[in-house]
């Protein structure tokens, strides 16, 4: 490979590198923008968990998380990036906790419902058995009645 060809490859590689530096990952170029985007995402996720939490098991933790989110907004507005990052990490972990709590609560509700179904099935079987005894008695009586009216 001659010198000219080597230079050509070098120019291409340099162009790609410069292009990547200029246009690649614009969101990470600005931490404040990234934090802002994260705050919005976390708000949405928190709202979703609020909707899913029918029994209100995560109410206290949601309130605390909302407070941390507000604090992170204030810290971000004051230009304190490091503290904002710390608060957002708390929020992220708190959301993991809330999700797990809500899921546990929902599965528990489902289990309870199935257990109730099981108990009601037992009661229903007993009720059917009582009804069957009565129906057998009635059938016997009606058979006798039919014999009588056909005579």
């Amino acid at each position: 490979m001659d010198v000219l060809a080597k230079s050509k490859y070098l120019v291409i590689v340099l162009t790609v590198f410069v292009g990547f530096m200029a246009f690649g990952e614009p969101a990470f170029a600005n931490p404040a923008a990234r934090y802002k985007q994260q705050i919005e995402q976390f708000k949405t996720m928190l709202e979703e968990q609020k909707q899913a939490d029918t029994k209100g098991v995560s109410e206290k933790d949601r309130a605390l998380t909302e407070k941390w989110l507000q604090e992170s907004e204030v810290l971000l507005a004051n230009g304190n990036g490091e503290a904002t990052g710390r608060r957002l990490r708390r929020v992220e972990y708190a959301l993991d906790l809330i999700r797990a709590m809500v899921a546990a609560s929902n599965i528990d509700a489902l289990a309870q419902q199935q257990e109730e179904n099981f108990h009601s099935s037992g009661e229903q079987i007993n009720a059917f058995e009582v009804e069957i005894t009565e129906l057998q008695r009635k059938k016997e009586t009606l058979n006798q009645e039919l014999q009588r009216v056909r005579q």
């Binding site: 979703e48 909707q51 899913a52 710390r86 990490r89 708390r90 972990y93 708190a94 993991d96 906790l97 999700r99 797990a100 709590m101 809500v102 899921a103 546990a104 929902n106 599965i107 528990d108 489902l110 289990a111 419902q113 199935q114 257990e115 179904n117 099981f118 099935s121 037992g122 229903q124 079987i125 059917f128 058995e129 009804e131 069957i132 129906l135 057998q136 009635k138 059938k139 009606l142 058979n143 009645e145 039919l146 009216v149 056909r150």
Partner: protein, 394 residues
């Protein structure tokens, strides 16, 4: 010498003591103490061993370690921060352990239900059979009572002429009458083969009335053979008419009740009600896809979906010999475990609705598949759906 030594060394000792006191870290923060307390709880070992929770438990321990290190380095704020994160991780581990316990309870309840369902079905089937038999007996008694009353009335009307006829010379012998009655009974049996007592009930009952009347008359007034024969012939004619009327209806009903025809009929009706794209042919039945039926991530029906579910209830009621499997699904939004629970809630919601509409619970089974098996890739909300499989139980 000693005094000079003391004068030189004492300030150094005092300085070293003060420096040592100044370097010693202060008491641990409340957050760190709380984390310590949680991790030292005897239950923490159970949580560590719970499936899925160990990762969070280990993270909580790592945060405790770095929080202690930060405290030793007198970085109290950092120590407190790590302690808060550790506490959150430990509590997440606890919640996941609770999920696991709840899932075990759910599985256990499902197993128990599976065990009790066949008993429930068998008991219910026996009860239904008895209800049918009792109803049939009541109808038979009613018909017999009516026929008896009719016979008595006819007999009263004919008493006068019967007595007169008994005194006249009969052209027909009693033996011939009995032969003819047997022929009529044979025709009656043929009429019953095509369920004339159901499909031509009025005619059949009248024929029965005539036949009973003729029998009674033959016993009470054996001399009135002409009149008896007249009644017998009348009964014969009516039985034949009843048989002729009932035969096409019986064949039609029989044809319609054949499994293949019923399966074809339910497929057509499902397509008419729910649209061809939402109706899929299944072995011995049909699958109805009810897309976009629920609010996202909930078990609540969307607004204005009632008529659709009512249509489903009607199909389920009209085709009572079909089993009903309800499968719940969700879109891929939110956690997989949570979506699994939501999909099961959705299947139960539809089951409860059908039961309220009069569909028998023992025909229905439910299952939730969560966010697996997405059917629609173009519109995520369409996957908030249930799929109902109606299958002939032949």
């Amino acid at each position: 010498m000693n005094l000079a030594f003391t004068k030189v060394v004492t300030p150094f000792l005092i300085f070293a003591l003060v420096a040592a006191m100044g370097c010693k870290p202060g008491p641990e923060s409340e957050e760190l103490l709380e984390l310590e307390r949680m991790l030292q709880d005897p239950k923490a070992l159970e949580i560590r061993d719970s499936p899925g929770a160990s990762r969070f438990f280990q993270e909580a321990r790592q945060f405790r370690r770095v929080a202690r290190e930060a405290h030793d380095e007198r970085k109290d704020d950092l120590s407190r921060e790590y302690a808060v994160l550790g506490t959150l991780r430990y509590r997440t581990a606890v919640a996941i352990a609770m999920q696991f316990e709840a899932k075990q309870r759910l599985d256990s309840a499902n197993v128990k239900l599976e065990e009790v369902n066949p008993v429930l079905r068998a008991t219910n089937a026996e009860r239904n059979k008895l209800v049918g038999e009792v109803t049939q007996l009541e109808q038979q008694i009613g018909a017999s009572v009516r026929a008896r009353a009719e016979n008595e009335r006819q007999q009263a009307d004919q008493n006068k002429s019967t007595f007169q006829a008994a005194n006249t010379t009969s052209q027909t012998s009693l033996a011939q009458v009995h032969d003819r009655i047997r022929e009529v009974e044979a025709v009656r049996a043929k009429a019953l083969e095509v369920k004339a007592d159901q499909f031509a009930k009025a005619l059949f009952d009248r024929a029965d009335g005539q036949l009973h009347s003729a029998r009674d008359l033959a016993n009470s007034q054996p001399g009135a053979t002409d009149i008896i024969m007249q009644q017998v012939e009348h009964a014969m004619t009516m039985y034949r008419e009843a048989q002729t009327s009932a035969e096409p209806l019986f064949k039609d009903a029989e044809r319609k009740m054949q499994p293949d025809n019923r399966i074809a009929a339910i497929r057509t009706e499902s397509q008419n009600n729910f649209g061809a794209p939402y109706t899929i042919t299944e072995f011995n039945g049909v699958r109805i896809v009810m897309a976009r039926l629920f609010e996202p991530q909930t078990g609540n029906f969307r607004f204005n979906t009632e008529s659709l579910i009512d249509a489903l209830a009607k199909v389920c009621q009209d085709y009572g010999e079909f089993t009903i499997s309800i499968e719940g699904y969700t879109q891929r939004k939110g956690g997989a475990t949570e979506n699994l629970a939501t999909s099961q809630l959705r299947a139960h919601k539809v089951r409860d609705y059908l039961i309220n509409k009069g569909v028998k619970s023992e025909r229905i089974t439910t299952e939730g598949f969560g966010q697996d098996r997405l059917r629609y890739t173009d519109s995520a909300d369409n996957n908030d759906r249930v799929e109902i499989i109606l299958r002939h139980s032949r």
